[in-house]
Amino acid sequence: METLAFQGLIGLSVAMYLWLLASGLTIVFGVLGVLNFAHGSLFMLGAYFAFTFYGLWGVNFWLAIALSLLSVAVVGYLMERFFLRHIYNEDHAYQLLLTFGFILIFDDAVKMVWGGVAKIPAMPSFFEGTVSVVGRPFPVYNLFIIGAGLFVAVLVWLLFEKTWWGKMVRASASDREMAGAIGINIPTLFTGVFAFGAMLAALGGALGTPVRVVAPGIGSAMIIQAFIITVIGGLGNLKGAFVGALIVGTLSAYGILLFPVFELFLIFLIMAVVLMIKPQGLFGGER
């Protein structure tokens, strides 16, 4: 019983980490209609930038994370402004292919700049240590990730539901032409949304640096996870992505315990079953 509860908490921290990764992907798809294959690479860039600022240059941890978010937002801005913007009207397949090209570019660029060896940055001292949960030691860091995930969820919700910018974004997501007709500057808005999605990816990557290795190729591993979550929750559905992350996170925490051999298989099976029965996702409505 205690094991179950403890694994549940582990699952929750994994889920919140995945949520940070998937939220940006699903926002970008929901608004721009582009499935960004390179979202995982932006995540990877976030991790590398955070590692550089914090681990190499000794910048304050929080400042390093902020700087990393800004840097990746710039990368996202450039990607959208000079490439993606020009192929919104093409078939989905070309957007997938274009962003796939970016995976190859980012993966090698990272190798050029930081080398092919995995980096293991030091953990900030205030994350070390554990707290006792049901009589077992639970890392403070995981607790922090759970908090950060919930915090971002509330923040994103407030941003989209309560602010003028969020209203404009929702308006253009539901009807691009009409939103343009009533005076919303759609191209600028889209650039902003893409950069915002990139920042969320970077946040996931940057916050992960203290516990995960930073290596070229982590982007392509993470993007598949992000795909699974967004597909389960419904592509473009923010609430769905949150629940999807909870499902995948919990499943991987218990799966490792109960059926280690088929854990990976099961996750893909769930993705396939959701796609077959309800392709718009568990929470999908429009689109």
Partner: protein, 311 residues
Amino acid sequence: MKTKLAILLLIIFLAVLPAFAGKYLLYVTIHILLLSIFSLGFNLLFGYTGLLSFGQAGFYAVGAYGCAKILLVYPSLLAGILGGVTLAGVASLLLGVLCIRHTRIYFSMLTLSFGMMIFSLAWKWRDVTGGDDGLVGIPRAPLEVPGIFKINMAAMESYYYVVLGLSLLAIYLFQRIVRSPLGLTLQGIRDSETRAACVGVSVRKYRLLSFTIAGLYAGLAGALLPPLESTVTPPVAHWSHSAEPVLATLLGGIYTFAGPIVGSALFYLLKDIIVRFTEYWLICLGVIVVVLVMGFRGGVVSIFLKEGSRR
């Protein structure tokens, strides 16, 4: 006439290649041929039927693991290849029924998830697939029909001829398929599903047929791999391997018959040339992909533009 002459010259060139080429060149040529078969099948789905699959490596792996398993038990090249292809065909038929229910992005995601399911089996189901070690010590068994003939395959040249022969056969059959009413029907479905359905075409049946043929081609490419490498490992099933035919086809040209073949050759040539100068060959490939996709702007065959405006 000119094209026919060029094709004839190319075939003659490939046929006499072992006379002057070293082992490495033959090895690379075999890989180009395998990627060509793999990409042709992929392009039947993508270029001709309009479905972008990211799970073709799964069927490639079924072919490869199937062939390897058979060769380990019963060392006969013919049995291994036929067995591998049949298994891949069955797998793609069964999964095809489930996959072709969707199109566009949902099809891509569905094929991705099935492909990765096959990958996770290859990676974790140690008893059958050898886990992350893969299957090793696969013999390059002789090509034989018991009682009729038996050709030893130990030399690279002999195996090269088997691959070349099967590739030419596969390419010829592919040409017959796309030029047949079947090929036209598939293009009709790609251009407009509604229109095709209205004239009485069973869209799902044809999509399934296209999916199965693509799976068979992937399986053939896969089945030819283990005798060459004498091992099969899980990465052949990974989605990043599914991306190879995508890239090759994109390089060579999507809506053309020869595109995937030209693209496969280009893929290996580029890799060979770029790797001489820098280890970062993927970044060059990435730039090429981006340029190609961006260059399509306005130039993409009209159907995609039409679909874009309808959305």
